[in-house]
């Protein structure tokens, strides 16, 4: 089976995020760029499915020059090839434009399955997988923690995380699946994989080749704020019994929570 994996780069989760000088953007100077953690689960799942059902794993991405590094790391882990839309107009585009670009790339590949991370840990929108499914008119399962593909490659069984439990879904393929943490334990690259990755093809495509219009956005950014919430920072002293007594008193009479 042919599996596409959508992958993006994001600032590492231990990055400090602050507004830029003019307050209209996030200052990403000096952050360490990593493969989006949820996309690692998507890639791992694709590699495991290929090992089980045989086939091909193709990584898709959009970005500038830096994305090359993420593509190579995916190829080192076992992906067969990569396709990248390199166009500055799509860097930081709204999710709908990203989904349209990925859909255009996917249509040229005719895959059986597309795996994405459930969300980018940068914009936290959880939008692209569902939008991509819509643009392809395919079924979707998001926040997936378990995935099985039938032997005939025509249907999938997925478990998604919802409030208070898991929903189990039956889907016909092709479909878009968005991976949640817990789906699998991603592997690490070895030297052999890293060497092999150097010879694997990375195809660069342009927006005009894909027939895409430059993305337009009607979302205007007014301001980037840093969260600030005044905290009381009150340390409660005493032995454990006194600390507990005082805390319960505060939560009851001052905070009125208990």
């Amino acid at each position: 089976m042919k599996i596409l994996v959508c992958l993006k780069q994001v600032p590492a989760t231990d990055s400090r995020i602050k507004p830029s000088g003019d307050g209209h953007a996030v200052d990403l100077g000096g952050v360490e760029w990593v493969v989006n953690p949820y996309d690692e689960f998507a890639l791992e799942e694709a590699l495991r499915l290929k090992e089980k059902h045989s086939g091909e794993v193709v990584v898709l991405s959009l970005g500038g020059d830096r994305i090359e590094e993420a593509m190579r790391s995916a190829l080192a882990l076992g992906a067969d090839r990569a396709v990248v839309l390199k166009d500055p107009a799509f860097v930081g585009a709204e999710p709908l434009a990203v989904a349209e670009a990925l859909a255009a790339m996917a249509k040229r590949e005719s895959p059986d399955l597309i795996l994405c991370g459930k969300q980018g840990v940068d914009h936290d929108r959880m939008a692209v997988p569902a939008m991509l499914a819509e643009k392809l008119d395919w079924p979707q399962a998001t926040v997936v923690v378990k995935l099985e593909i039938a032997a005939d490659g025509k249907t999938a069984h997925a478990e998604r995380e919802v409030e208070g439990g898991h929903e189990e879904l039956e889907l016909t393929l092709p479909a878009v699946i968005a991976a949640q943490k817990g789906l699998n334990e991603p592997r690490y690259a070895n030297l052999k994989g890293i060497m092999a990755a150097k010879k694997k093809p990375v195809t660069v495509v342009t927006a005009s080749e894909l027939g895409l219009n430059p993305p337009a956005s009607s979302v205007e950014i007014l301001e980037v704020l840093q969260p600030s919430q005044a905290r009381k920072n009150r340390m409660i002293a005493g032995d454990p019994a006194q600390q507990v007594e005082e805390l319960v008193r505060i939560l009851r009479t001052e905070e009125k929570i208990l």
Binding site: T13, V26, D124, L169, E223, Q226, P227, Q243, E255
Partner: protein, 327 residues
């Protein structure tokens, strides 16, 4: 007359979910600010009787899609219902709570409408034909204030942030219905498996008790569960203990887990890594219990107890039981 807002209402076990009551209150306010009205959409099987409750919460019109095919949640069925509701009654701002369902459905609807999508907003108002909203990024390390024409936008609102107003009392709803009999979803929910612990889900909990490395081992997590049970709380966890396999990922709070805003967050044995703080910093009241008085968690706590959690937690559980028992 077209409506300014269409709110998608979720239900479970025959009741409107609390997060949807919040969304209806928000939708009512936004519609009023924009000089328009709110309509609501309810999709399911045997849901027609919920219309009067929805009307009492501020919907001028309730669109009902009551059909066998909608017995379980389905992205495709619900998206088709929303599409048909919008075609039928006209609406600019499509609103849903940012629940598991909302996060799955709303972007699909946005893509169908070719509309901008604002996910997980925490503040909103309508002014001069625009929705001005604040949404967190980087798990809350940054807040982005954005403006978008109210005439075409899809929005999800974070649960537990916007207040749910009291019901206006029994109302005779104005309703209209839409048909779904031709919809054949290719993804279907075949089973729901409830979580095994008898606690509240962390994403919905008004109180959360979270455990970290300070618990020393998975065998001590019951201390957290017992306090949570006494408080009627959900159980959270730091990434360190999830990665160590002490507790399931469903419980993880932080940048690669859940972002939560409960009324009370009790951090037990959590030092306060930036990735954890990002997920819980908007909690209304934060209590930290940690051995190390210099732990970063105390910097964002309202109340700090520096001490041995093995001494503190059992006493706290007992004290809470006593208070609750006394009513």
């Amino acid at each position: 007359m077209a409506h300014l807002v269409l709110t998608l209402v979720e239900h479970r076990d025959g009741h409107i979910r609390k997060s949807s009551l919040e969304a209806l209150s928000l939708g009512k306010r936004l519609a009023a600010e924009g000089g328009g009205t709110q309509a609501a959409l309810i999709v399911g099987k045997g849901v027609t009787n919920l219309a009067s409750e929805i009307a009492a919460r501020g919907a001028a019109l309730v669109v009902i899609a009551d059909h066998d095919v909608a017995a379980e949640y389905s992205t495709e069925v619900h998206a088709k219902a929303a599409e048909r509701a919008i075609e039928k009654i006209g609406a600019g701002l499509i609103l849903e709570s940012a629940t598991a369902q909302g996060k799955d459905l709303a972007p699909r609807i946005a893509a169908r409408l070719q509309a901008p999508y604002l996910a997980d907003i925490v503040d909103a108002r309508v002014e001069n034909g625009k929705l001005i909203a604040v949404r967190p990024e980087y798990a809350g390390k940054a807040l982005i204030r954005v403006a978008v024409p109210v005439s075409k936008v899809v929005v999800t609102a974070r649960p537990n942030v916007f207040p749910a107003e009291a019901s206006a009392g029994a109302a005779t709803p104005e309703t209209t219905s839409i048909d779904l009999s031709d919809v054949k979803p290719r993804a279907r929910v075949v089973r729901f498996v409830g979580a095994s612990e008898e606690t509240v889900d962390v994403a919905e909990a008004e109180i959360i008790v979270s455990g970290g490395r300070g618990l020393k081992g998975p065998e001590n997590f019951p201390l957290v569960f017992e306090l949570a049970k006494a408080l009627g709380a959900g159980v959270g966890a730091s990434r360190a203990v999830v990665d160590a396999g002490w507790i399931d990922h469903d419980h993880q709070v932080g940048q690669t887990g859940k972002t939560v805003s409960p009324t009370l967050y009790v951090a037990c044995g959590i030092s306060g890594a930036i990735q954890h703080l990002a997920g819980m910093r908007t909690s209304k009241c934060i209590v930290a219990i940690n051995k190390d008085a210099d732990a970063p968690i105390f910097k964002i706590a309202d109340y700090g107890l520096a001490g041995d959690l093995f001494e503190i937690l059992p006493r706290l559980t007992e004290a809470v039981k006593k208070v609750k028992g006394a009513g």
